[in-house]
């Protein structure tokens, strides 16, 4: 976890903590304090979705109890309040990811919808037969299938940059794939399977050097890395709210204003228009052009509260703490000598995929669940990557700042039970 932009994080430290107090932090997350299958819950599935702090749950409740109303429409008081809160959330998320202007931040359902929006509204209209889209072998299905779909429509070609056995992107090979035929490079900031943090700034520069646009899937990065889209200089950046302590059903597409401005709307309907007649419809300016219909208002407000919550922490200390969890869990797992870690890149978010020689990941998952430990087992929506490692599935733990070293100890002991069942 070397990619820490501590300057950016420190400016967000409003609480001014100098020490990271995990006991205190855990009190903020009501769901953590329960037994599952007779044991205290150990939630190690944060890359799938994170838990929500009181602040987020309360913000959503407040909205529905006190000012639920539609946005950008009514002139009544509640609508004005709802609109204000919705647009304030846009400002918050824009500042959080380092956007120059909140107009460049479109609320969507999640990273998946954001990628589909870019594929269909930006790339499809200009994509021609023989054009190329470059991906990496470590992409989530959400960053593969939308591109495949528009390739099928146009005769464009997908090119895939390989990863090394340690799970790092092979930049030399990527460079060879890039050419003036490349219309877009789509790449994850951090891998949901391997944990690898990609050298995204370098990758963006490589793509721009051949004139290609770049989309960065930041789903796994926003909860763990200081993101600054302006500094990154990508053309599009996408993320999901629920992976960064916000609610499900809300996410953000950030794009450079010059590009978003030229793109046709993704969906038509209310909210995205300035005027409509049966002869001609004038579209609303950014960002509403891409937000047809009543948006996920409570979701956006919840995401704003999640951003406030993250910024109230000493984020530098958070990242250091998560890094110590990652190192400790990796070390303890390898000490068991019977599990291999898939993904051993130098720079990682706290995600560890692991496999056992003969025990299937699903069986590991069930036996851990029986002891109150929630992990993910399966292909993690990254089947091409699984094929590369010749695996059908892995077990995966993904950690958060509310996890503890004691939980990791408990998890390691629980893995002994797995071996015992199959002895």
């Amino acid at each position: 976890m070397a990619y820490l932009n501590s300057v950016v994080w420190k400016t967000y430290n409003k609480r001014g903590d100098t020490m990271f107090n995990v006991k205190q932090i855990r009190k903020d997350f009501p769901i953590l304090h329960q037994d599952v299958n007779g044991y205290p819950l150990v939630y190690f599935d944060n890359a799938a979705t994170t838990q929500k702090p009181h602040a987020v749950i309360d913000a959503i409740t407040q909205f529905y109890e006190h000012y639920n109303s539609n946005v950008h429409r009514g002139i009544h008081d509640l609508s004005a309040k709802a609109t204000l809160a919705y647009e304030e959330s846009r400002e918050k998320i824009a500042r959080f990811i380092g956007a120059k202007n909140s107009r460049e931040c479109i609320f969507v359902r999640g990273a998946t919808e954001a990628i589909n929006l870019v594929a269909n509204s930006y790339l499809l209209p200009i994509l021609q037969e023989g054009d190329e889209i470059v991906l990496t072998h470590m992409e989530h299905h959400a960053n593969i299938v939308p591109w495949q779909m528009i390739c099928e429509k146009t005769g464009a070609i997908l090119k895939v940059a390989p990863v090394s056995l340690s799970g790092e992107l092979m930049l030399d090979n990527l460079a060879e794939l890039l050419s003036n035929k490349t219309k877009l490079l789509a790449c994850c900031y951090a891998s949901n399977v391997l944990g690898t943090i990609n050298p995204v700034e370098k990758i963006v520069a490589m793509a721009h050097a051949v004139g290609a646009k770049v989309l960065i899937d930041g789903s796994q990065a926003t909860p763990h890395v200081a993101v600054n889209v302006h500094k990154l200089d990508a053309d599009f950046f996408v993320c999901s709210g629920h992976k960064m302590y916000g609610p499900t059903g809300i996410g953000v597409l950030w794009g450079k204003e010059t590009l978003l401005d030229k793109m046709p709307p993704y969906q038509g309907g209310g909210e995205m228009i300035t005027s409509v007649s049966f002869d001609f419809t004038e579209y609303a300016p950014l960002p509403l052009k891409f937000e047809a219909g009543t948006p996920n208002i409570s979701g956006a407000i919840g995401l704003g509260a999640a951003v406030d919550y993250l910024q109230s922490l000493n984020l530098n200390a958070v990242l250091e703490y998560e890094s110590s969890l990652l190192d400790y869990a990796s070390k303890r797992l390898l000490e068991l000598k019977s599990f291999n870690i898939i993904g051993t890149a130098a720079h990682k978010v706290p995600v560890i995929s692991f496999v056992h020689g003969s025990i299937h990941a699903h069986d590991i998952g069930t036996i851990l669940d029986n002891q109150g430990i929630a992990i993910r087992s399966g292909h993690h929506c990254a089947m091409p990557l699984m094929d590369f490692f010749n695996l059908s599935s892995t077990a995966r733990i993904s950690l958060s700042f509310y996890n503890t070293h004691e939980e990791i100890d408990y998890f390691i002991n629980a893995l002994d039970k797995v071996k015992e069942v199959f002895s």
């Binding site: 299937h360 699903h362 069930t366 069942v421």
Partner: protein, 149 residues
């Protein structure tokens, strides 16, 4: 932990470790592939059917202990059955995996009851049913891949 013991009974662990009728069947005249999209597990089932009777059967593939044992147990009970009897077993196994009130005595082979442990684990029912869905697919002689979803 009691549920866990019922899920991973000795018979399951044994069939997982030493799957019966494992490998390609050379003289198969009926074949199907099964796929569990949830976990990515793949299974190939081979049948030799003469005059509506399953005379031989085998499978290959990778999967969790539950899916491997279920496939192995299935190959053991299928040999010698007619196609309509095989369909009948599929229906019974489906109930065995999901219905707490299922009468075990209606099973043609009592050892199949070890699969009932998945009832306490809804997420694992598909692991146990993959082989059986693949069987139905093979009997229909579909070329398509059978899916648990």
């Amino acid at each position: 932990m009691q549920n866990l013991k019922e899920l991973y009974q000795e018979v399951i662990l044994d069939h997982n470790k030493n799957p019966r009728n494992f490998g390609k069947l050379e003289h198969a005249n009926c074949e199907a592939r099964g796929h569990n999209p949830l976990c990515g597990d793949m299974l190939r089932l081979f049948l030799k059917i003469d005059n509506e009777i399953i005379v031989d059967v085998s499978f290959e593939g990778k999967g969790c202990a539950i899916s491997q044992a279920s496939a192995s147990l299935m190959t053991e009970v299928l040999k010698g059955l007619s196609i309509s009897q095989a369909h009948d077993i599929f229906n019974k196994v489906h109930m065995l995996l999901t219905d707490d009130n299922f009468d075990m005595n209606s099973l043609p082979s009592l050892k199949l009851q070890v699969l009932s442990g998945v009832r306490a684990y809804p997420a694992r029912v598909k692991c146990a049913s993959l082989a059986w869905h693949t069987l139905v697919s093979a009997l229909k002689n579909q070329q398509d891949v059978a899916k648990t979803e």
